[in-house]
């Protein structure tokens, strides 16, 4: 009897407990405006970064996201990174159904511990814990709570309340707690909605900086637009003073950050005697400094290769030059440091420069670690003031050429006097050229053959240069097959070779093409599009109103000349009128001319400018591209006499 009543009580309690759990994050509570175009909606995001000291901080985060459909599933996976400096205190999670009823909580078995070493690296100590709470029935809501402690205070968090496209945000807040004993927090607000600027308050020994946003609709990317993260709200934070493995630094100025990096890497430039002697001999033999730098670079490229090893402090501190000399490999820091050591031995001072490679320019007015790469800067003596830039991780990059990887952006020069922000060379439209000359020969059946020579320079040759250095001739030809967009064609001959690098590098491509049925024949008429290889794509207009500015990231100049030779008895029915377009986005011209030898010459020139244009210009931009596309596709019409 007793036993029975006990059981009864237990079961009553558990029922009560269940009934008492209030539903969490019911989907019905989401405002409909936030669901529009959204695959998921952030219900709440509550992040606190508490700085304990100059060298330690704790990050606490709780967030909940409702997944509306399968394309939002990625948001149900939480990845918490860690490494030698960062340890995870906890990672908890729960998942709720549409009504807000708890479905289950995260178990240890649901969390994977994986290496996050990137593909380009041989060794890193970066790892992550990944928790997956994906459900197959929509909508559902996941909630995660996590905390980590970091002893690498070089990095403070960046808050991106709208962390991806197609994501609505109900509420998101971000807090940084700075001890009063430390200098004030440094922060940078970007694209914040009005009214969500920082609020400061005091809390015991801390100054609290707080931001919050609410009710942000999903962001949909548009074509010809800036990358989403340039347009979305963000708060960047950074310390004034920081510490990594007992190496303290000051980040409140570029000078200070440069000093830290410089000091950390100082005294690692000693070379083995044989190499020292070799460089000294070079200094004697080659008096011209520029030429000497070129020869040192060639030596570096011949004797080293890029191998990325990022372990602990090694993410910021180079291995000694002597080790690179012994092994013949290193990462960007190590190879640049080694190059600097070689140049020094050859009597040429040089500086390492931190760069943000393969990403847009850094925020110059917010000193912080926005870099992922190191290059070498060699200021030439005052007699011929000039600067040589060297990419030390490439064995094939031309001397003094920074590809699209690091060109045209700010880098931090590391000098004994501290960091100095300078700009790498900008390659303009008139540098990034593609000049093409083709002869197109037509037979009376409409079949054609073509001989084409293309000279590509600067940023327009980056890909071709890769193809040339990385692929076998057979694969280079296959790559050409992939690149060329023509109805039907066969490449009968293909060569690709570097041209002279003055002042920017050049690749020269020769093509022999056979183009079966290139011309279409209808009755007595033959239609031939003279622009064989450089037809621009038709623009993609969007449905609905334009939301963002127009962005063209790449400035270039293309010039094409095609000489069309037709068989006897072909007479042009018309010659399309010349086209001349001149806009802020760029200029375009196309003209056709009958030459005295009976052939017809087609000349096309297109220069596109880099720039950001107001969204009101969007229709004009589309029209510009549409007219180019139309002109590019305009055929020449011939009448065949024999029909």
């Amino acid at each position: 009897m007793n036993r029975f009543s006990l059981l009864l009580v237990v079961s009553l309690v558990s029922t009560a407990a269940q009934a008492g759990t209030a539903p969490k994050y019911p989907v019905a509570a989401i405002p409909s405006a936030l669901r529009e175009n959204a695959h998921a909606v952030v219900r709440l995001h509550d992040e606190t970064f508490t700085v304990k000291s100059a060298g330690q901080a704790v990050s606490t985060l709780r967030y909940a996201i409702t997944i509306l459909d399968a394309d939002g599933d990625d948001h149900a996976v939480d990845q918490v990174d860690y490494d030698r400096f960062k340890s995870i205190s906890y990672l908890r999670g729960s998942v709720y159904d549409a009504e807000g009823k708890l479905l289950r909580t995260l178990r240890a078995a649901d969390v994977r511990d994986v290496s996050t070493t990137s593909d380009i690296s041989l060794a890193e100590d970066s790892r992550a814990r990944i928790a997956n709470l994906q459900q197959g029935r929509y909508p559902y809501t996941v909630e995660f709570e996590e905390e980590y402690t970091t002893s690498n205070t070089l990095f403070y968090p960046v808050w991106h309340p709208v962390s991806s496209t197609h994501l609505g945000v109900e509420q998101s807040q971000f807090r940084v707690k700075m001890p009063k004993s430390l200098p004030a927090l440094r922060y940078r607000e970007k694209n914040l909605p009005t009214g969500s600027q920082v609020r400061q308050s005091a809390e015991g020994n801390y100054t609290v900086y707080e931001w919050s946003v609410a009710g942000l609709p999903a962001f949909e990317p548009e074509s010809y637009s800036l990358p989403a993260w340039e347009l979305l709200p963000a708060v960047y934070t950074a310390p004034a003073t920081f510490e990594v493995q007992n190496h303290a630094g000051n980040l409140s100025s570029w000078e200070g950050f440069g000093t830290w990096e410089y000091t950390l890497n100082e005294g690692r430039g000693e070379l083995p005697a044989s190499q020292l002697a070799r460089m000294q001999e070079l200094a004697q033999r080659v008096p011209d400094v520029r030429e000497r730098v070129r020869q040192v670079y060639e030596y570096l490229q011949t004797n080293t290769r890029y191998i990325s090893i990022q372990l602990g402090l090694g993410g910021w501190q180079t291995i000694p030059a002597a080790e690179v000399a012994a092994k013949g490999y290193g990462d960007c820091k190590a190879l640049s440091n080694y190059g600097m050591a070689l140049l020094k031995a050859a009597g040429v001072p040089a500086y390492c420069a931190l760069a943000g490679a393969d990403r847009p320019d850094i925020q110059t007015d917010f000193p912080s670690n926005q870099f992922n790469h190191v290059i070498l800067c060699v200021p030439l003596p005052a007699a011929r003031p000039d600067t040589v830039w060297l990419e030390c991780t490439s064995q094939t990059s031309p001397f003094n050429y920074l590809s699209g990887f690091t060109a045209g952006r700010h880098v931090l020069l590391l000098t004994p006097a501290g960091g100095k922000l300078v700009r790498t060379p900008v390659y303009k439209a008139t540098d990034n050229t593609q000049f093409r000359r083709a002869e197109l020969r037509l037979d009376d059946q409409g079949n054609a053959t073509a001989s084409v020579r293309t000279r590509s320079a600067a940023l327009q040759q980056d890909d071709l240069s890769q193809v040339y250095h990385q692929l076998t001739p057979e694969d280079q030809k296959k790559q050409a097959y992939r690149q060329i967009s023509l109805p039907s064609f066969t490449i009968s001959r293909y060569t690709l070779k570097p041209g002279a690098t003055v002042p920017v590098p050049v690749m020269v491509e020769h093509l022999e093409l056979s183009l079966p049925r290139y011309a279409t024949v209808t009755g007595k008429r033959v239609f031939v599009v003279p622009n064989v290889l450089n037809q621009s794509a038709a623009p993609t207009p969007q449905l609905g109103e334009r939301q963002t500015d127009v962005w063209q990231s790449f400035a270039y100049l293309d010039a094409d000349t095609v000489q069309l030779k037709t068989p006897a008895g072909f007479r042009p029915e018309n010659l399309p009128a010349p086209v001349q377009l001149s806009t802020a986005f760029g200029t375009y011209s196309m003209q056709l001319q009958a030459l005295s030898d009976g052939s017809i010459q087609y000349i096309r020139r297109l220069q596109m400018n880099r720039g950001r244009f107001p969204k009101a210009d969007y229709p004009a931009y589309l029209e510009f591209r549409r007219r180019i596309n139309k002109a590019d596709k305009t055929p020449l019409v011939f009448l065949k006499n024999d029909v």
Partner: protein, 671 residues
């Protein structure tokens, strides 16, 4: 599988390793550290100027050792590579994956490496130091040992050697003869004592230069229970396979997976037989595979774990009486309740768990499907296969590891052949198999089958695209009108997935505004998005702009933006078959009304072309109608795959289609 040998081990406790098998008398093709200076002579590489590196010799050996009470599979490898270009530097960094589970592991040992450079005529030899060796723990079971050799330059020769000792007999190292760079000599030897029975599968497009088999004895030293030593002699088969001058492997478009085409040999443990023990089959034959799978907790047992859906099953039984309708209802139940997590697996982590968490791998989903099909009174069995990404199967070799997927095979009353079903795809109609499984045949797993039974996985579905349009031309060469666009079969599958991902607006932008010559779509409706048995249809009003000014003569390209404008078969030569997975059908019916006052001056010629052996057909018809004309194009590819020999005709066929679709109509203003 380690456990199975315990009976043997109880009689003898192991100590130390075996003597070398006598059969391996054949000279080794490469000795680590013994370099021939002529490997630096440029004229030996005259034929390889195109290659970034050449594998001079790749030599692997696997044999068994008896250590600490158990047999280990020991793999030894020596590789020498000549680096010819900077692009070949990647060859100097090597990753060796190692597996570990339940206290058993694969262990790498005796890793050595050298880089040789010729400096001023002198051979300079540099050692791989421990600072160049790293371990990456990928996850709990899987780690990667990585190393990179020092001072690699153009012209360097690199050499490395290592051993992997494994507790996993089923992980007998496979051997790949072919890589992206040419291989001068690739040799693999395997010494397999009589206790182990492996099935070997050789594949690829390159010939063997040698294939030998010898028999001899191997001695294993074991310690008896009392502590006494005893030598046990085992008959041992020694194999040797050699490939010479293997060309670098090159990818081609429209293939299943590289794995299917590269030259390699794979091993699978078929069984073991220890002294005074019966033969223990590991996988062995189809019956064994069937019964093992059906008894497995993560396979057959799951088929009986569907009782928790009793109510749902009863509802289906009550609602539908026809077997076909019941099957369809069951598939829909699974399809809508369990989201496929993009993992193709043959084993389930539990069908109930998958259902309750609404997410699961392909086995969770399809084993659940089979169980439920049985619950509604149908005959359903698992059919296992290898997906396209996983590679082709050799049906004559029962190798469990060659399978990675399971489908449901349901036999409807009165039907001779089973119908294959899959419930992993939300947007798939009943009976439609995912493209990724369209890989020849599936093996039926049944209790009573005495022979191996195979089912064709050819899909009844094709890629189907059907468009009609009624358009009014204007005097500037532009037009406006209505377009009806339908995607069926596999096209509907991808179109529905894309529609869900993009939403209607972006879907219209992507499909009807992108890459079109200034089309405007003022009105559109998407239809039958959720009616999986029907095509996904879009009805639109579309306007295409013409020239700025009216023209007396219009050269009008009717198929432009509708038809095919590029031959997908770009390359001239083909080594491997073209594998589309399924057939294809594209139909276009466009009707144009001429602008007032205009008449046709010239029309393109109609045409009909066929591929050899009824492999495909193209019909193109231009015909006048009242006040206008109609243009019809029908393309069909009847086969799912075409042999390399058929490639040239396939390429020419497409070239003719593209040319026809580019042709123009000439319209003239009436005088």
């Amino acid at each position: 599988m380690i456990l199975r040998v315990l009976s043997f081990i109880t009689l003898a406790l192991g100590l130390g390793c075996a003597t070398a098998p006598s059969a391996q008398a054949q000279a080794e093709p490469i000795k680590f550290g013994k370099l021939d200076l002529k490997e630096f002579d440029a004229k030996n590489f005259a034929a390889d100027t195109a290659a970034e590196a050449v594998v001079m010799a790749d030599f692997g050996r696997t044999h068994f050792e008896y250590v600490q009470n158990q047999f280990k599979v020991v793999f030894e490898r020596v590789t020498r590579i000549k680096i010819l270009k900077k692009a070949g530097y990647d060859m100097a960094t090597v990753s060796v994956p190692l597996y570990r589970k339940n206290g058993n592991e694969e262990r790498l040992s005796n890793l050595r490496g050298f880089t040789y450079n010729l400096v001023n005529g002198q051979l300079v030899k540099e050692k791989l130091e421990s600072s160049g060796i790293f371990t990456e723990q990928r996850d709990a079971n899987y780690s990667v040992r990585k190393f990179t050799l020092p001072n690699v330059k153009e012209g360097s020769i690199i050499e490395y050697a290592y051993n992997v000792s494994s507790d996993f007999w089923f992980n007998f190292q496979d051997w790949q003869f072919q890589y992206s760079v040419p291989v001068r000599w690739s040799e693999y030897r395997a010494s397999i004592p009589e206790y182990f029975d492996y099935r070997m599968a050789m594949q690829g497009y390159e010939p063997l230069a040698a294939s030998e088999q010898n028999e001899g004895n191997t001695q294993f030293t074991v310690r008896q229970e009392g502590g006494a030593m005893e030598n046990i002699t085992a008959r041992t088969k020694t194999y040797r396979w050699v490939m010479k001058d293997v060309p670098g492997f090159r990818q081609e478009p429209f293939i299943t997976t590289t794995r299917d085409y590269v030259s390699r040999i794979d091993f699978e443990l078929r069984g073991t037989q220890f002294p005074q023990q019966p033969y223990e089959e590991a996988t062995g034959n189809w019956n064994k595979i069937n019964s093992e799978l059906l008894a497995a907790e993560n396979f057959g047992t799951q088929l009986n774990r569907t009782g928790f859906l009793k109510a749902e099953v009863a509802a289906i039984m009550a609602k539908h009486t026809e077997p076909l309708a019941r099957a369809a209802a069951v598939q829909q139940l699974v399809q809508t309740n369990v989201q496929y997590n993009d993992l193709d697996r043959m084993y389930s982590a539990g069908v109930r768990k998958a259902y309750e968490q609404h997410t699961g791998n392909s086995a969770d989903i399809n084993l659940l499907l089979i169980g439920l099909l049985r619950n509604v009174g149908l005959t359903a069995n698992p059919a296992i296969l290898s997906t396209r990404d996983h590679g082709r199967l050799d049906e004559s070799s029962p190798m469990m590891s060659r399978f990675n997927y399971v489908l449901a095979a349901v036999t409807l009353p009165g039907q001779a052949e089973a119908l294959l079903l899959d419930a992993t795809q939300k947007h798939a109609d009943f009976g439609m198999l995912p493209e990724r499984v369209l890989n020849t045949r599936a093996h039926l797993v049944t209790e009573k089958s005495l022979e191996d039974h195979w089912l064709t996985v050819a899909s009844r579905q094709r890629y189907v695209h059907f468009q009609t349009a009624q358009l009014q031309l204007d005097d500037r060469g532009g037009w406006k009108g209505k377009i009806h666009d339908e995607h069926a079969g596999y096209n509907a599958l991808s179109a529905r997935a894309s529609l869900q991902k993009l939403g209607e607006k972006k879907y219209i932008e992507t499909n009807y505004l992108k890459q079109k010559d200034g089309w405007a779509v003022p009105k559109y409706t998407v239809q039958q998005a959720d009616l999986l048995a029907k095509p996904l249809a879009v009805d639109m009003e579309v306007e295409a702009p013409g020239d700025e000014d009216p023209n007396g003569t219009l050269y009008f390209s009717p198929m432009r933006n509708f038809g095919e404008d590029e031959n997908p078969f770009k390359l001239v030569n083909r080594q491997f078959p073209v594998d589309f997975g399924a057939g294809r059908e594209e139909t276009l019916m466009l009707t144009f009304q001429l602008p007032t006052g205009y008449e046709v001056e010239e029309l393109p010629k109609s045409a009909a072309i066929s591929l050899p052996d009824n492999g495909g057909r193209f019909q193109y018809v231009v015909a006048p109608t009242a006040g206008g004309l109609q243009v019809v194009s029908r393309i069909s590819f009847t086969k799912a795959a075409y042999s390399a020999e058929e490639y040239a005709s396939l390429r020419e066929f497409y070239s003719l289609i593209v040319a026809k679709h580019a042709e123009r109509i000439v319209l003239k203003k009436k005088p």
